[in-house]
């Protein structure tokens, strides 16, 4: 095997990787923020008694859950500007696309969580005279959020990893820069290994956090 | 109810000495349990939650490690602790049967297969012979027509009765019951207690952990009150249940009477 490893080359070229990572994180965090709020709203629509709200919400969730992320991202980047006659930066498109995808997954998580909020808490809100909207904001949302946190965090990691697909539509995030670098210095093994470890280094602590949450919950209910 | 004294013929069936067990530092669960049981006895163990009675039963079944102590069965070493490790005689353990609080029937097998699994795989009994015995037992306890049903199709009381039959299929020399009616709706409790009462005719020694004082009165030949990991009282049911000697037992029995109206 006549391949001399040279990880130093990566260190010398770390700048663009770091920039790419910054963009990936920006996009992932922004998408998560959108997806938590939107996911909750869609969950409420899914649980609504009126089919006028349920139908579009269900269609939304099913579309995003039954088609590949890549198709969705391509569709966003190539079709949305044409359809809606808007011009958005690739960063904005990326956040939008990722945010919508993620919100469909979060909607399912929230749906389960909202259904699991104890009835008594909501009844207490009614007894105290809170309006339906106030009940949602002050009782249901906080409780559902607490219940859904492990899944939301896991979905968040998923979003961060899925952001790598944006490299295929020329968004200059971490994956894109990794490919560029690998071609430039002819060192795919070092480049991709290091970048994989970067993704891993960010995903691992969060997944450990999720495990901790679930262990705590199991102990509390034990 | 026969006098527990006259049943003490011969050597002890089970002898428990200085049993100690903790779940880690500062969580002692059994703090020196000593008692003996004799053939034909029906021992009921009562006591508050967390007092150690279920753990005691599980130790007797060989499901738990112990820190100190010795249990002998018919004079032979059964469960012993030495150098931090627990030795359990597998042969003796096989002759003890146990029924648990939460059914634990195997949900993916129907009733008959639940019954014949252990006899066939452990005792290498033929399917035909085990099935025959199983049907006979099911008939005895009024469950014959459920032989092909799956656990999910049975009521709680039926599941527990099947669980008892399943344990009986292995011809145990000693039967342990761990709060077998605690998880049942009140109207299903009687049918299970009926089955256990029917077993008394076979002279099968039993140790029963229960919350049900009335059942304890009817079935016990001897009652143990277990609290704080120790046996605090030990005597005939008339004494322990109606006229306990110790303060703690008195407190407990009074509270239970009041709680159950």
């Amino acid at each position: 095997m006549g391949y001399a490893y040279d990880f130093d080359a990566i260190l010398r070229n770390f700048g663009p990787l770091l920039n790419g990572l910054e963009l990936s994180l920006e996009i992932a965090i922004a998408a998560n923020a959108i997806a938590i709020a939107l996911g909750f709203l869609i969950a409420l629509m899914l649980l609504s008694r009126s089919w006028l709200l349920r139908l579009p919400a269900t269609a939304f969730v099913e579309f995003f859950r039954c088609t590949p992320f890549l198709v969705q991202i391509f569709w966003f980047f190539y079709c949305v500007p044409l359809l809606f006659n808007v011009f958005l930066s690739s960063r904005a498109l990326g956040i939008l696309a990722l945010g919508l995808i993620l919100s469909s997954f979060n909607a399912e998580a929230f749906r389960g969580a909202v259904q699991a909020v104890p009835r008594e808490q909501i009844d207490a809100g009614v007894a105290l005279g809170l309006s339906p909207w106030r009940r949602v904001v002050h009782i249901i949302f906080p409780a559902a959020l607490r219940l859904a946190i492990p899944v939301l965090l896991t979905n968040g990691i998923l979003a961060f990893q899925t952001s790598s697909l944006l490299s295929l539509v020329a968004v200059e995030e971490l994956m894109f820069n990794a490919k560029m670098l690998s071609s430039k210095i002819y060192r795919p093994i070092e480049t991709f290994t290091v970048v994989a470890l970067i993704y891993f280094a960010i995903s691992l602590p969060i997944s450990q956090l999720v495990n901790w949450f679930e262990r705590r919950r199991a102990a509390a209910e034990g | 109810m026969t006098d527990s004294q006259s049943q003490r013929a011969g050597d002890p069936l089970l002898r428990i000495e200085s049993l100690r067990k903790s779940y880690g530092a500062g969580h002692p669960v059994l703090q020196g349990v000593d008692f003996e049981t004799y053939a034909g006895e029906r021992i009921v163990v009562i006591g508050p939650s967390g007092g150690g009675k279920s753990t005691l039963l599980r130790v007797i079944m060989g499901l738990e490690d112990i820190d100190e102590g010795l249990i002998t069965f018919k004079g032979r070493n059964y469960v012993s602790a030495a150098g931090g490790r627990t030795r359990i005689d597998a042969g003796i353990r096989r002759s003890i049967g146990m029924v648990f609080q939460h059914y634990t029937l195997f949900p993916h097998l129907n009733v008959m297969r639940n019954l014949v699994l252990a006899p066939c795989k452990v005792n290498h009994e033929t399917r035909a012979s085990a099935t025959k015995r199983g049907l006979a037992l099911l008939e005895r306890f009024g469950l014959a027509e459920k032989a092909g049903a799956y656990p999910s199709q049975l009521s709680g009381g039926q599941k527990q009765r099947v669980a008892i039959v399943r344990a009986l299929m292995m011809d145990p020399t000693l039967m342990l019951f761990d709060e077998v009616t605690s998880a049942l709706d009140p109207e299903l409790v009687a049918e299970v207690e009926q089955v256990i009462l029917q077993l008394t005719g076979q002279d099968l020694p039993m140790v029963i952990v229960t919350h049900d004082i009335w059942f304890a009165k009817r079935i016990a030949s001897r009652v143990l009150f277990c609290d704080g990991g120790r046996i605090v009282e030990d005597g005939p049911p008339e004494q322990v249940l109606s006229n306990p000697k110790t303060e703690r037992a008195r407190d407990f029995v009074t509270r239970v009477y009041h709680a159950n109206g």
Partner: protein, 221 residues
């Protein structure tokens, strides 16, 4: 804006071929991946550290990195490491199977762990040996519990298979992307491609729900 879906129809043959590759990849990689996952799950739940540590490391690593980078690694780095270059298709199979292995390992592990301790106690009380317990009580239930999740994993794999287009494998996504570029009608083509994926994945999700409900009922979980 005029939409012309007829254009898509003229390419239906090519799209069908792409779909065939996607489906083939899904089936093959699910089979290989499940096998790998089962072995990994057994390794992780075995008592031995020699087995469980590497297995856990593998699963954590593959689940903590994007599938795209795993794909790139297999396509660009593996040939350098092993000294020869597998065919595109083989590389795709390797990458996706390795990824599915990690996912199904978690599925199997969760199924094994969900068998309650009470069941194992009942086996001990009946005198069943550890082997008999595993073979007759634990494994059958674990497989039953894992089935709906495995089906769901298959749907995920079908969607993930679209990534192989990024390394030049002529699957549905690749062909769709090419057509879209060559006729300059991204909306019609990409929508159709999405619809094809949807038409296959959606009914499968309904099947998963039904299997789940049926199993829940039978096992009274």
């Amino acid at each position: 804006m005029d939409l012309d879906f007829h254009v898509v129809w003229t390419f239906s043959g090519a799209l069908a071929q792409g779909l065939r590759l996607s489906v083939t990849l899904t089936v093959v990689c699910m089979a290989l991946g499940s096998l790998l996952g089962a072995l990994l799950a057994l390794a992780r739940t075995s008592g031995s550290l020699w087995l469980s540590l590497p297995a856990t490391a593998y699963v954590e690593l593959l689940r903590g990195t994007p599938v795209l980078i795993q794909l790139f690694w297999v396509f660009f780095c593996l040939p350098l490491v092993i000294g020869f270059e597998p065919s595109n298709f083989a590389s795709g199979v390797i990458a996706l199977s390795l990824s599915m292995g990690a996912i199904t390992a978690e599925t199997f592990r969760a199924a094994l762990r969900s068998i309650s301790r009470d069941q194992k106690d009942a086996c001990a009380a009946l005198g069943l040996s550890r082997w008999a317990r595993t073979r007759y009580v634990v494994l059958p239930q674990a497989l039953l519990r894992a089935t709906p999740v495995l089906l769901s994993n298959t749907i995920t794999l079908f969607k993930e298979s679209a990534l192989v287009s990024a390394v030049g494998l002529a699957d549905l996504m690749f062909i769709g992307g090419n057509i879209s570029n060559s006729v300059g009608r991204p909306i019609e083509v990409l929508t159709s491609v999405a619809a094809i994926y949807f038409v296959i994945a959606f009914p499968l999700t309904r099947v998963v729900t039904r299997v789940e409900k049926g199993m829940l009922r039978k096992l009274a979980l």
